[in-house]
Subunit: 329 residues, 2 copies
Amino acid sequence: MKIHDLTTPALVVDADALEHNLRVMAEALPGPRLRPHVKAHKCTALAARQAALGHRGFTCATIREVEGMAAAGLGDDLLLANEVLDARRLGAVAGRVTVAVDSEATIAAALSGGVGEVVIDVNVGLPRCGCPPEEAGRLAELARISGLNVRGVMGYEGHVVGLEDRVRRVEMTAQCMELLLQAHGDVGGELISAGGTGTFDVNTWANEIQAGSYALMDTAYAKLDLPFQPALRAVATVISVSPSGYAVADCGLKAMGMDHGNPSMEAGHNVWFLSDEHTTFGPSSPVAIGDRVSIRPAHVDPTVAYHERMHLVRGDEVVETWPVDLRGW
Amino acid sequence: MKIHDLTTPALVVDADALEHNLRVMAEALPGPRLRPHVKAHKCTALAARQAALGHRGFTCATIREVEGMAAAGLGDDLLLANEVLDARRLGAVAGRVTVAVDSEATIAAALSGGVGEVVIDVNVGLPRCGCPPEEAGRLAELARISGLNVRGVMGYEGHVVGLEDRVRRVEMTAQCMELLLQAHGDVGGELISAGGTGTFDVNTWANEIQAGSYALMDTAYAKLDLPFQPALRAVATVISVSPSGYAVADCGLKAMGMDHGNPSMEAGHNVWFLSDEHTTFGPSSPVAIGDRVSIRPAHVDPTVAYHERMHLVRGDEVVETWPVDLRGW
């Protein structure tokens, strides 16, 4: 099958770019130094490629992701890097499951749900989950007294991973990880889990990095000085060409995560705006009805979450089709 | 089942508000005066309620929506208000299917796909699909010569439906519909199809209105002077409360269309930002871990498209669960 035969909009992964990204990362952070985050691709077929390169532990953001990874035989060591108050489905997963906790209530939920292992989630500056660093030791003690295995700490510097200025990124990562290491001193355990694609080579304090976007990339991360190539695009069909100088492709904001702003088009086409099922754009050179165009998302995670499948392509050839099988909650 | 028993994030529809919205619209635009757009809810169970109130013709934005509506027994008169270049799946639908055309290529696609009926899509000012008004007659003639039944015209004033100033909305709708009526004079046929939720009572020129958002509503349309109530919200669980004055709920931007900006929270809570699976907010009054909170989307269409199901609720009781069965393409 050729790209031209796909029903559009179609999510397409360029095989060479994907392989480049996976290889570069596996060389930089081999084996357990990387705990790939599946939230960025939500695809067990892609996760299997990461596992084949030596990363056997994975990071998840939802219970569904944990369930799906275990069902796909990728459940050696799954970290749900998120807080949950009903852990019963997690406790029923056939695989090794560790859940983040940042409060007495989330510790109680792990216990009553039958999850035996936790990490203490430490707030390192991003206003989201995570206990204050000075609370981590007390929570670890509570968890251990309750019978849980406390494997260590995690702390995501999510407010730092997207900074384009590398010097600032390094400085702020250091500040964040100082907090995490301080908490780890109180907590103990083998895991110091942190980081993302933007800090994969900057965060030298964590002993495992939770990067996910590096595999497929997006235009936001492409602004940083990272060695990863854009691998993901939506292929769309030009369905209308106006004599007023614009054209319309059949990929809209139900096929594209929009929180980071408009996507970008290949071939220098200029995106005007997106509607539910349309991208209106100013062509850099004449386009004709029926032409295929490529649209690159500004944010990979919410883009992938809209699609049932993605197609691995090499040149014009569709070589594999992968279900995006970790969607939902 | 109670709302509190739902896995969160959960999309919830308040039954009383939905019924109010459907009734008010059916009174204003009875029977065929409304051709409800299913793209806003992507749910055949909800469409069946619209049909039960007398609207037997529906508007669709994707081939999948047409297929799903017909499969659900709602295929009396389906208008795909969008251009397609491969109409073979449409031609195979068991039901009455009409497709929008705005070029020779889309007329050829309807023919070769086996779709027998078309409307001429006319550009009335929104830079998207639609032929120039002065081209409509020529395209209609071409379509008729080719053997297609040309049912009339459509022209969506999408750049007008969201204008908060009613006077301006009326003025601009008049300008748009002047163009559409001019085209209809050249095209003929029984259909003059246009409009949306924001112009449902303003657009008195079209003989059918393609409104969709009115059923569930969103915070963008809530800014207008419309008689529809907010019926849709995501229910989320507070999973973390920080001593620094914010809290975190488990509904993120993979559960919420973000192109119109941040959603809004009930109870006066103040949304700070959304991450993939989190809303960080400033509570208006103290919240506790485990509390349920409600988040209203800024844009209904791309929000619904993220969810597998929506739950119809009355008070705290979940009375029905509806698959969002028209997703994808």
